[in-house]
Amino acid sequence: MPAIEIRNLSKSFGAVRAVDDVSFTVEAGTVTGYLGPNGAGKTTTLRSLLGLVAPDSGEALVNGRRYADLARPVCEVGAVLEATNFHPGRTARDHLRVLCAAAGLPEARAEQTLGQVGLADVARKRVAGFSLGMRQRLALATALLGEPRILILDEPANGLDPGGIQWLRGFLRFLADDQGCAVLVSSHVLAEVEQTVDDVVIIAGGRMVREGTLAELTSAGDRGVRVAGAGVERLRARLEAAGATVESPQDGVLLVHGAPPETVGQAALDERVVLSELVRERSDLEAVFMELTAAPGGPPPPPVAGAVTGAPGSAS
């Protein structure tokens, strides 16, 4: 049984079809990125999953059950949602104490989770003085109170500084890899999740446009092998003889399609050409995302600037 299962979910607000027949699953031990531009229906999907929004049709299940039917929901699912905040006059610790009281958790959990998210020092400070990043951490602390195995995060990186985003990435990977949690994280800023997620679900205009592993998605956009060096033009004939097509986007650079990097390297060795660069060009998630979510009839997509090189997910 998948940790999260969304089946043919649809929801309209008035005339607006916010979510239209969306289906996907998230397994334990993986991080799934739920991606789409603003207004794509991400938040509505996640809120349906959490019983906050009643879907018109379809099902959104956690551990095979509707959220409202879970006996102790915060012990199974933790959530960090947008458009959620805290009473400014209450301290961070008091916020968590209220939730502990309602959930029947020991109050000690309040201190523990504040420590986990790095807010132990300001536990007794009123939230009014908190930065957006601190509130985001406090929101994460609320999600962790019941030590859930499923985490649902809606744009969690909003308001975090680069250090905070780095920390969040590591934290989500830790939850999935070491704790075996299923993590579903939504974002409209792809760079934030690209280095964290295993699987990707892309939604635009309420409809799912793509689902798959990050590797599948980015290799679909293979852009050939880029090779650079002073005498690189000398490789052209040899590569074309091997069946590749060769472009030269600028002086001293070739873009080779239809030949693996090994073939290009062998050609360089045979021609005794000194190379300064040899990489497989991949379209990054951003480019794939732009292609997939571009509205038909909308403005033309901007030119893809500097496709990221190297294997996705290698940095952290």
Binding site: L50, L52, T84, G89, D94, H95, A101, G104
Partner: protein
């Protein structure tokens, strides 16, 4: 359920607003108590040496109903204003349980406001009676009934606040409506249309206190007032539940 009520009470008592409202409520009570004690027997004010005067004196404990109303309002509108309702429903997705817990918490807050007012009433009334040379035996069954009425009315007004807050969700709007109702509309209706006024929450509270109407028209009997208060509480509780349970939280 107990833990949910405890959580709602924690929400009330982990902000400073509740103490401000309690101070205001006691302040109004204190003004009423002192005024009645000083003016005792003068200008148509019943003397505190008689049973009616004593009843009036103790009914001052319930002067700050509107502040209990505000606390009830905040307990619901604060959740929408600060968007904490999401957390509340994530912990307790069965929303009717949240509403029930809030209603119970309102009753507890009303009880505390009522008891605080009553304590203040005793603190002023006993010396006032002694100074005027009245017997403390005047503080008897009548006073007990007034005190019960004060507590009941406080709880009702907190619940009423919760219901108005559930309907409007906007904090300022809900408070304006509540204060406007208690201090303006209801007073006007009671004054101009006493036959209508006695059926309103304020009139029902007065009936339970057993104070005479300033305009001569009789209030309901005490039991009738009590029944009416409970009826209002039930209707408002139903309004609070229905509006809160169905809504999408976006």
């Amino acid at each position: 359920m107990t833990r949910l009520v405890r959580a709602e009470l924690l929400k009330v008592f982990t902000t400073r607003m509740v103490w401000g409202m309690l101070a205001l409520s006691l302040g109004f009570t204190a003004i009423g108590l002192v005024a009645l004690s000083v003016l005792s027997g003068a200008q148509g004010v019943p003397a505190v040496t008689g049973p009616e005067g004593v009843r009036n004196l103790f009914s001052q404990a319930g002067t700050g109903l509107v502040f209990a109303f505000v606390i009830g309002t905040l307990l619901m509108t604060g959740e929408y204003r600060f968007q904490t309702i999401t957390y509340t429903f994530l912990v307790t997705p069965r929303r009717e349980r949240v509403v029930a817990a809030k209603l119970a918490a309102c009753a507890v807050v009303g009880l505390l406001f009522g008891l605080a007012g009553i304590a203040l009433a005793f603190a002023v009334a006993i010396p006032a009676l002694l100074i005027r040379g009245a017997s403390l035996s005047l503080i008897g069954g009548d006073v007990a009934r007034v005190c019960a009425g004060v507590v009941g009315a406080m709880a009702l007004y907190a619940i009423l606040g919760l219901a108005v807050g559930s309907l409007l969700r906007n904090q300022v709007a809900a408070i304006v409506v509540g204060v406007g109702w208690v201090y303006v509309l209801e007073s006007i209706l009671v004054a101009l249309l006493p036959s209508v006024g006695k059926w309103l929450p304020g009139g029902a509270a007065q009936a339970v206190y057993g104070v005479s109407s300033p305009f001569g028209s009789g209030y309901l009997p005490a039991w009738g007032g009590a029944a009416l208060l409970v009826g209002y509480a039930a209707v408002f509780a139903a309004v609070a539940s229905l509006t809160t349970i169905r809504r999408d939280i976006t």
